[in-house]
Amino acid sequence: MSRLLDTMSTGFFRRALLEAVLVGAVAGLVGVHVLLRRLPFFVVTMSHATFPGVVVAGALGVSLVLGGFGAGLVLVAVIVVLDRQRVVADATVTGVVLSGAFAFGVVLASARASGSRDLTAYMVGSVLTVTRGDIVATVVLGALVVLVLAALHKELVFAAFDPQAAQAQGYRPGMLDALVMVAVLVTMSVAIPAVGTLLALALLVVPALTARLFTDRAVPAMVVAASAGAGAGFVGMVVSALWPVAAGAAVALASGGGFLVALVVRGLVDRVGRPAPGRVPA
C-alpha cells in the first residue's frame, strides 16, 4: 500500500492518472453516439487508419495527435464521398485497404532505428510519458467535442433513430453522421498518447455498451458511460502502479472488466426484479 502511495505522489503518475480519467470520460460519452449509429466497426477501421498518420508524425517529429487526426480525416472524407456516390462500401474492400494502410505504417516504422519501441507506443500508448501539453489538448478538444455534441444533441439522436424522417424535416443526416465520425476521430486522436490506436476501442465502445445494459435513454447513458470510462481510467492506472504491467492495457482491461461486472449485475437484477425498461415481458 505504501508503494502505491509513493508511486501516486510522483508528478508523472498524477499527470498520467488525470489523462487516463479525462480520456475515459470523453470517450465514454462519445461512445453512446457510436452505439446509437451502430458505428463500432467504424471505430475499428479508424484505429487502423490513424496508425500510418501517427507513424509519419513520429518520423517528422510533429505531434502524434495531429498525425492521427490528419490520416483519420482522409478516411472520413472517403467514407462520406463513397456514401454520396451511393457506392456501397463493402467490408472486404475496407478491410483490405485499411490493413494495407496499417502495413504501410509498420514498414515506415521498421525502417527507423528505434522501430519496435516507437511502434509499441503508437499502438498501445505510453500514458506515463504524457506531457502537460497532451493534457491541455485532451481538456480543450474534449470540451469542444462535448459542447458540439450537446448543442446538436436533439438532432443527432433524432437522425440516428429515423434518418428518413429527419431528412423529410430538412435535416441532413449524412452531415450529422460525418459530424459524429469527426467527433470519434478527435476523441481517438487525443486518446493516442494514453492508450494508443489499438486500445482506444476499449474506451470508445465498451463503456457505452456497459451503460446500454442499464438504460435506453441517451442522456442517462452518457452520464453512466462517462463515469464508466473515467472509472476504467482510474482503476487501470492504480493496477499499473501496483503491478508492473502496461498501463494502457490495464485501462482497456479495466473497461472490459467493468462491462463483465455490469453484465452479471444486470443478469441478477433481471432474475430477482422487474424486467428491464423497454423489454416486453415474456
Binding site: L35, R38, P40, F41, V43, V44, D90, A91, T92, V93, T94, G95, V96, V97, S99, G100, F102, A103, F104, V106, V107, S110, A111, G115, S116, R117, L119, T120, M123, V124, L198, L199, L201, A202, V205, V206, L209, R212, L213, P244, V245, A246, G248, A249, A250, A252, L253, S255, G256, F259, L263, A276, R279
Partner: protein, 284 residues
C-alpha cells in the same frame, strides 16, 4: 536479382511459407470474400493474440494457445450477442478490445517486452522454422479437404441462402464448417505473420481475384497465384532494401503492402475495362 536472395535457406523457407499462405488465401479467402466474413476474420485474428501470448509466457504450444484464444472469442461473441441489448457488432468490438488488451498485458509482464510484442503483432516471416512451414502445409490440406468436400453447397449458400435452406441443406452446419476453416486458417497463419496482418494475407489476394473474374474456381486459382507472387515480390523488396540499401523493412508488412498494391492495381484494371466495354442489358 529476383531469384538471388532465395539461395539463403531461411529465405527459401519464407518463400515456401508465403506460397502456402497464398494457397490458403485462395481456398479460404475466396469464401471469406463471398460471404463477407472479413470482420469475423479480424475478430479471430485479434482473439488468437492473447492465447499465443499466454502460451509463449508459460512455455506451452503456441498453436494450442491460438486455437484456445480463437475458440474463446467466438464463444463469447455468440453468448454476448444473445443478450437483448447487445448486437453482434458491439459484441465483436468488445471482444477485440478486451482480447488485445489482455494480450498486451501478458506480454508487458516480461522485461524488454516491446520486441516480443512487435514479433507477435507483426510476425517474423524471415525467421520461420521448418516446423511452422509444415504446420501451415497441414492447415492448407485440412482446409482444402474440408471446404472441398462441401464446395458446391458452400457456394450455393453464399449466393442464395434461402434457396439452399429450401432445398433441404443444413445451412447452420455448413456455416460451422466454414467458420471452423476460417478460424483454423487464421491460427495457422497468425504465428508467422502476426496478429495484425493475418487478415491481409488471407483476404487481399481473394479480393483481388474477385475483381478479375466472376467464377468461383478460377477465382481461387487467381487468388492463390496473386498471394504467391505478392509474397515473392514482397520478400525480394524487403531483402534488397536491407542488404543493399541498409533500410530495414519488416518483411511481413512489406508483403502485405505489395498485396494491397496488387489489389488497387486490379481495381484500376477493372475500372478501365468497364470504361471501354459497357455491359449488355444494363441501363442507366
Amino acid at each position: 536479382m529476383l531469384l538471388e536472395p532465395f539461395r539463403q535457406p531461411y529465405l527459401r523457407r519464407a518463400l515456401l511459407q508465403v506460397a502456402l499462405l497464398g494457397v490458403l488465401g485462395g481456398v479460404v479467402g475466396v469464401h471469406i470474400v463471398l460471404r463477407r466474413l472479413a470482420f469475423l476474420t479480424e475478430a479471430v485474428q485479434h482473439a488468437a493474440f492473447p492465447g499465443i501470448a499466454i502460451a509463449f509466457a508459460t512455455g506451452t504450444s503456441l498453436f494450442g494457445g491460438a486455437v484456445a484464444g480463437a475458440a474463446a472469442a467466438v464463444a463469447i461473441t455468440i453468448v454476448l450477442s444473445t443478450r437483448p441489448r447487445v448486437d453482434e457488432d458491439a459484441a465483436m468490438a468488445v471482444v477485440i478490445a478486451t482480447f488485445v488488451a489482455l494480450g498486451v498485458l501478458v506480454v508487458s509482464r516480461r522485461a524488454g517486452f516491446q520486441a516480443d510484442l512487435t514479433t507477435q503483432l507483426f510476425g517474423r516471416l524471415s525467421f520461420v522454422t521448418p516446423g511452422q512451414v509444415a504446420q501451415t502445409a497441414l492447415v492448407c490440406v485440412a482446409c482444402g479437404l474440408g471446404l472441398g468436400a462441401v464446395h458446391k453447397e458452400l457456394v450455393l449458400v453464399a449466393f442464395d441462402r434461402a434457396g439452399a435452406e429450401a432445398l433441404g441443406y443444413r445451412v447452420a452446419r455448413l456455416d460451422a464448417v466454414l467458420y471452423g476453416a476460417v478460424a483454423l486458417a487464421v491460427v495457422g497463419a497468425v504465428q508467422v505473420v502476426g496478429a495484425v496482418l493475418v487478415l491481409s494475407f488471407l483476404v487481399a489476394p481473394a479480393a483481388t481475384a474477385r475483381l478479375l473474374t466472376e467464377r468461383v474456381l478460377p477465382m481461387m486459382g487467381v487468388a492463390a497465384l496473386v498471394g504467391a507472387v505478392g509474397g515473392w515480390l514482397g520478400l525480394v523488396v524487403a531483402t534488397e532494401a536491407s542488404l543493399h540499401h541498409d533500410v530495414r523493412l519488416a518483411s511481413g508488412a512489406t508483403v502485405v503492402l505489395v498485396l494491397t498494391l496488387l489489389f488497387v492495381a486490379a481495381g484500376l484494371v477493372r475500372g478501365v475495362r468497364r470504361l471501354v466495354r459497357r455491359p449488355a442489358g444494363v441501363g442507366a
